[in-house]
Amino acid sequence: MKSDEFAEGASEWPDELSRREFLRLAGASLALAGVGACTKQPIEKIVPYVKQPEGMVPGKPLHFATATTCNGYAQGIIVTSREGRPVKIEGNPDHPASLGATTIWAQADLLGLYDPDRAQEVMRGENISTWNDFLQDVDVALAAQQSNAGAGIHILTDTIRSPTLIAQLQAVLKRFPNAKWHRWNPIGPDSINGEVVVYDFTKAKVIVALDSDFLFMHPAALRYARDFALARRVADPTSARMSRLYVAEPTPTLTGANADHRIAIAARNIRALAKELAVRISASPRSAPLPDELVTFEPWIQTAANDLVANRGASIVITGNGQPIEVHDLIAKINDQLGSVGSTIARNSAVAGSGDAGPPITDRGYNQTESLGQLVSDMKTGDVELLIILGGNPVYDSPVDFDFASALTKVKVSVHHALHANETSRLCHWLIPAAHFLESWSDAVAFDGSISIVQPLIDPLYANISSDEMIGALIERPVRSAYEIVRETWRSTNPTPHFENDWRRALSDGVFRNIDFQSVRPAELHSAEVKTAEKISAERTGRNPMFLELLFRVRGRSRN
């Protein structure tokens, strides 16, 4: 046996506590534990309801459908409640993004609710204050903004896809035309092509994923994983065949682990790969020879391209949010060329988050870093007189060059609405404790445009204010409850007498409006933009034999 198997001293018992001493203490503890149990049953209280809620049987759990969000996208859940306390989250089988499954983050949402470190009180600087005091402060700030149409009002939010909240923010912008709404999601892409693309993996025979972990790190991952598994499970060996998955990815992912053909490729080369793929399936003409960095992947590219062409109309090419807008446009073009749109792919810029309740939230060309930069420069010149930050922690996670923290100190009235007091809250004048989604009414849109009403399971544990009430503070007095605000949003889209029935059914099922996958019209692709994308793609695909790539992988979920 190797004598130096362990580090020196690691296998020695320390002198301070001898083995005999240890056993003596352990024995004594055990004996004392037994003695400690020799107590009689303590007297306990039994507290019945004053009025028993309808449908409630004491001792039996109740189940309510609601929705959690993943990067703003709804995932239907069913929450078990015992005597008014939510105790367990499971998936909602009726919800298209869940089909009865949940993510690990949805499971953990319950811990967020009961987290004792949550922000509990309305704080004005270091002092505990009240919501009414805050409203008075806001009233003063808003009165000063009447003359200049709200030029000093800025709102900074995370990516928001709640139709009610969007409608409210639109109402703020209507009331104060010069006010500005900035969006900042530190783990999101700088800009997105504004389209909502929904994939049907059950029908796809060939799937090519370029830096996309659609089986795990994706708002629709639960659904896609289920659909993907369905297409891989072949019941009848004669008629059907399994789908084939090609994955090109810079870091190992669950999707890569499920691939039939996987290549490891730098994220920066995905652009060139997409371009090459477009050439091979004749979606675009060849403008340059095969770049050097793709030479080793030639067989993979050719096989994937052949397979895609052979399965025209039954293929999916997908890329991830970490890739720039040009890659998304190229992929869109490839899918168009392959005739997948309308069969395996539904594309609609008007599906999610917009609908009837407001304008599209993912405007094409919107660049969140530029927007945040604009906000910071306005803050530095002292033009920002009222800043409302909904969730997030920009002091911590905005680009360090912006120096958000020192800019924030120049704002006249800054308000942070957050679940937890963080670096940003400490530098803001006001901290408004946000209500957890299990405590407040809201709504959310799923990946395919289905709408869920987020209904609370419990009253706020502390002095929590929901996002809708927070924004309501800018436009209405008295501020209506989140329930009234959310209900009014949907009541206004459905002013029929059977609204009450629809509403109750939506609350019971957890899905307000299930968008039929096939009814979504394919949208026209903007050809001019694709040309630009190709041009940029060609320019940026230069030779660079040695490089170190730093990738930020999302292993969690943005707050809010």
Partner: protein, 219 residues
């Protein structure tokens, strides 16, 4: 060399030996006495309650069914406690100004619940479900005694594990027909030794020994 033991040592050793035996036996007896005394078991100990509620009056005199107040006894592990509203269904009409009912009226007016003292309180490591016991032919009075004769509620059984096992080992001694569950007068008749087994078979009570598994109650 001097004697190792003096003559007195005999006395000392006797005192110590017999003293030790008496101490151990006496200590054991005293512990057992305390363990089985009402001091620990709370058997026949009336508790202070916010309202001196009399089952004798409500059940015995008025003939109100158990399930009027304990309405989840057939559906849930918890038999249910009457809400303040339940009390006031009658007491808004009768005895509606009785001083003794002031806490109930106040509870309804202020929406603050009454806080009763638990009479039958099992330790938290025991899983107990009323509904299954009622469904399998265990009557109220088997465990709760002649509640219809109690002017204030007390415990008639220790609720110790030994007591639970009496029935879990031999359910045929205690089961009764379904229509007698809420009958306070029911007594096992002479034919229980025969009827009991029939009822056990009829209720499909598991006699394979599963009822005495640890995991049946200590889940």
């Amino acid at each position: 060399m001097s004697q190792l033991f003096s003559p007195r040592a005999n006395v000392y050793s006797r005192v110590i030996i017999f003293g030790a035996v008496i101490l151990v036996c006496g200590g054991g007896w005293a512990t057992s006495e305390i363990f089985w005394s009402p001091y620990t078991t709370y058997v026949a100990v009336p508790f202070d309650q916010p309202v001196p509620f009399s089952h004798k009056h409500h059940v015995g005199d008025d003939g109100i069914d158990c399930r009027y107040c304990h309405n989840s006894v057939e559906k849930s592990r918890f038999a249910g406690m009457p809400t303040s509203e339940t009390c006031m269904t009658c007491h808004s009409q009768i005895f509606n100004d009785a001083p003794v009912l002031a806490p109930v009226r106040e509870s309804l007016a202020t929406n603050m619940p009454l806080k009763w003292t638990r009479v039958h309180d099992l330790p938290d490591y025991v899983y107990f479900d009323h509904s299954i016991h009622v469904a399998k032919g265990l009557g109220c009075s088997t465990c709760h005694g002649r509640i219809d004769q109690m002017p204030i509620t007390w415990r008639v059984n220790t609720l110790y594990m030994k007591w639970c096992l009496e029935c879990h080992r031999a359910p045929q001694r205690f089961v009764r027909p379904q229509e007698k569950i809420y009958d306070m007068d029911w007594q096992s008749s002479r034919s229980q030794s025969v009827d009991g087994f029939q009822l056990v078979a009829q209720y499909q009570i598991d006699t394979s020994g599963r009822l005495t598994n640890c995991g049946t109650c200590h889940r």
